[in-house]
């Protein structure tokens, strides 16, 4: 059931209860969780927070805690499957689901008592109407009971014939209805996509209650930027949501604009900016950032010798000395930095990079702390998927959660370093995949598989890193290939996950076109292909288009996928 009044139906209900927060491991979920935690602290709501990274963990966490809690808040997980079926909760258990995964499972939508969905109503959800998919079972039974005795035999027979006709009619109607229901559900569930970020939904809640702080606003921004960095939402949606947040930003940060009304330098300020689309450039050197940003490296085709030449030309065109470009951005000459953005943009236009400028936000506090929203996203993602230290995955979650608070600058800087490593690894892998022609057209889709033993392959056993890699790879591939048909194909990518258990992780991503609506049909396709071949797969991830698969089953699974999609 959708909640229309977040405050009355959600917050006022749980404010006097003990709540269990189940939070998925993605940056948007972390941000939403941060906002909710801050609200809970204001109101002394006792809660327990348990990180979950997949369906299995969600189930175990639920089983462990179901005796102690009645109210469960699920962040970025749980909307796209029938929750009551997989968790089998007691009648008096309530779920509040704040999830950006779409489509939302219809049972969740039409359950009036136990499942409450915190979803922004203006997203176009296109949920099928109740009558199309549910039908009360009782009206089938009633006719068998009103057999009335004591009538004339002829009367009885006529009655009986009428009954038979009526019943067959009903049965036919029912079959038609079922066929229609299947069709409607198929249309509805075919594509997987993402709705408004959970962090924004939570921020809206805080705002409605007049408890919104600048910090919460920042988390909402990071949540939205995460969706954009991961390419989960369309450019249109991003710009619209940025517009919404910008209104809040100017409401919160109007001070400091004139002399009289100034704030201390240590206070946090958020600013709306047209910034460069270069990853981490303020904490790196401009050169490294240009090389390791997917947009610039794909447009300049940096994996080839010509591409490297083009990069040199690009730098020369801007008139930036190599020595300056290769040193830390912070230490670059002030005179160069002053109108750097304009210079880069002007030259970028000549080199066919028209979208180098994006709308984003940045945060300042103190004299030397300035971060752009995407910096934080990259840092948090790489902290969350850090592979350096063995240990339970939840430790990474906790670290990533900590890095989002301003008090933990050292963790954030550690994250930034990891993010640089990650981006470099992605870029190198993309280059080697393209140079060695690892991306193969399978007909209905492109396929690329990373071998065991490739450098950094361990990094890509994690879902978010692998998704980032696939998106960068597809972008680069589209720029490099001359085959026009291939430009419109989606990509399936596989990487070894666990060598001992012999499993691979496989993701499918939608085609990379300008007008792409970011809708992904691989979730259902994977499911069907696995069913038809009896492959041993595991749909553990909250995104249906990420699966684990036994290595031996890979080829038959792919064959089934090809025949299914062509």
């Amino acid at each position: 059931m959708f909640i229309s009044d977040c405050r009355r139906e959600f917050y006022d209900v749980i404010v006097s209860q003990r709540v269990l927060l189940l939070v998925a491991s993605d940056v948007d979920a972390l941000c939403a969780c941060k906002i909710l935690q801050a609200l809970f602290q204001c109101d002394h709501v006792q809660y327990t927070l348990v990180p979950v990274s997949g369906w299995q963990e969600l189930e175990t966490a639920f089983l462990e805690h179901k005796d102690q809690f009645k109210y469960f808040v699920l962040i970025n997980c749980g909307a796209n499957v029938d929750l009551l079926e997989i968790l089998q909760p007691e009648e008096d258990t309530f779920f509040f689901v704040c999830d950006s995964h779409r489509p939302i499972n219809v049972v969740n939508v039409y359950n009036d008592t136990q499942v409450k969905l915190l979803v922004k109503q203006d997203d176009d959800l296109d949920v099928p109407t109740y009558d199309d998919i549910f039908r009360d079972e009782e009206d089938e039974e009633e006719d068998s009971e009103n057999e009335s005795d004591g009538l004339e035999p002829s009367e009885k027979r006529r009655r009986f014939e009428e009954d038979v006709i009526e019943r067959t009619m009903k049965r036919r109607q029912r079959r038609e209805w079922e066929a229609r229901r299947r069709e409607i559900l198929f249309d509805y569930e075919q594509y997987e996509y993402h709705g408004t970020s959970s962090a924004m939904v939570m921020f809206d809640l805080a705002w409605i209650m007049s408890k919104d702080l600048n910090d919460m606003l920042w988390w909402a921004i990071v949540g939205l930027t995460d969706q954009w960095v991961q390419d989960k939402i369309t450019q249109m949606k991003y710009v619209t949501d940025i517009g919404i947040l910008q209104r809040h930003v100017s409401r919160h940060n109007h001070r400091n604009e004139d002399e009289e009304n100034s704030l201390s330098i240590d206070c946090m300020r958020i600013a709306f900016e047209y910034d460069l689309r270069l990853a981490l450039y303020q904490h790196w050197s401009l050169y490294e950032s240009l090389c390791n940003t997917s947009y610039t490296s794909a447009s300049l085709k940096l994996w080839s010798v010509q591409g490297q030449k083009r990069l040199q030309e690009f730098l020369a065109d801007m008139g930036l000395p190599l020595r300056q470009v290769k040193q830390k951005f912070n230490s670059m000459d002030m005179s160069l930095k002053e109108n750097l953005r304009e210079m880069i943009e002007e030259s970028a236009n000549k080199f066919g990079m028209k979208d180098l400028r994006i709308q984003t936000f940045s945060i300042h506090f103190g004299f030397k702390n300035k971060f752009s929203a995407s910096d934080i996203v990259y840092a948090t993602v790489s902290l969350m998927e850090n592979i350096e230290k063995e240990g339970p995955e939840t430790t990474n979650f906790i670290k990533a959660l900590d890095s989002l608070s301003r008090g933990n600058l050292d963790k954030l800087h550690q994250g930034l370093d990891l993010a640089k490593k990650q981006l470099r690894a992605i870029q190198q892998t993309v280059a080697s995949c393209i140079c060695t022609n690892l991306v193969i057209s399978q007909g209905p889709f492109l396929y690329c598989s990373l071998m065991e033993g490739t450098p950094d392959v361990k990094l890509f056993s994690k879902p978010v890193s692998l998704c980032l890699l696939s998106k960068y790879l597809l972008k680069s591939f589209v720029c490099s290939t001359k085959n026009k048909r291939c430009k419109l194909l989606p990509l399936v990518m596989a990487a070894p996950m666990d060598v001992e258990r012999g499993t691979v992780i496989m993701v499918g991503i939608p085609p990379e076109t300008e007008s792409s609506d970011k809708k992904n049909f691989f979730g259902r396709a994977f499911e069907k292909a696995a069913d038809s071949t009896n492959s041993r797969t595991l749909h553990n991830h909250f995104d249906m288009s990420i699966i684990e698969l036994k290595t031996e089953d890979r080829s038959k699974f792919l064959d089934a996928l090809i025949s299914l999609l062509s």
């Binding site: 003990r18 935690q37 809970f40 602290q41 002394h44 709501v45 006792q46 809660y47 327990t48 927070l49 348990v50 990180p51 462990e64 805690h65 005796d67 102690q68 339970p392 939840t394 430790t395 979650f397 906790i398 900590d402 608070s405 008090g407 933990n408």
Partner: protein, 195 residues
């Protein structure tokens, strides 16, 4: 060499930092006392000789006496410091000590601990009106009633005042009443998250 053993006891205690309580060295203590007795007896013998005119022995006697005093000081320091540590344990762990720590205490120390416990309890009952006042709570002035804590290791179920239980599992995070967490934080099960 005279005085080595007693100093060894003190040195060991000094090495155990962070308020840890090392095992009670009954044997070391006995040896130090033994040494003191030997010194004393030899002094006794020499004193009687010195009385009979051997004045050259006086320096030796003085030296031995200094050794005796030093040993005494070391042993007292050892025992007193251990008592201070045991007293601190009462505030840290509450009235029941974990077995590992009790194992490190001598019988006299256990006795002293229970007497200290009793007098502290009597005092706490006498102040703060009818129910008394638990002085071991809120050693630092609290800023809020509830605090955010993170679980550092699997602890199992933990019951709080209102009868509900919380499952403390590694890396889960909780927002709990401060007065219930304080002890677990001191024991290192929970970590207070400060932002």
């Amino acid at each position: 060499m005279a005085g080595e053993r007693a100093v060894g006891l003190v040195r060991e205690l000094r090495g155990a930092t962070g308020g840890n309580l090392p095992p009670f060295r009954a044997e070391g203590l006995r040896q130090a006392l033994e040494e003191m007795r030997a010194l004393y007896e030899r002094n006794q013998a020499d004193v009687s000789e010195a009385k009979s005119g051997r004045t050259d022995l006086i320096f030796l006697i003085r030296f031995r006496h200094c050794c005796l005093l030093r040993n005494q000081r070391c042993i007292l320091a050892y025992l007193y410091d251990r008592l201070l540590r045991i007293r601190a344990l009462r505030w840290e762990y509450g009235s029941v000590l974990p077995n590992t720590i009790q194992f490190h205490m001598s019988a006299e120390e256990v006795e002293w601990f229970s007497r200290y416990k009793k007098s502290l309890a009597t005092y706490m009952r006498s102040v703060g009106g009818e129910e008394g006042l638990d002085l071991t709570q809120d050693i630092k002035p609290p800023k809020s009633l509830y605090i955010e804590v993170r679980c550092l290791r699997d602890y199992g179920e933990f019951e709080i005042d209102d009868g509900t239980t919380v499952l403390l599992k590694k890396n889960s995070q909780h927002f709990l009443p401060r007065w219930k967490c304080e002890q677990l934080i001191r024991q290192g099960v929970l970590e207070h998250i400060l932002l």
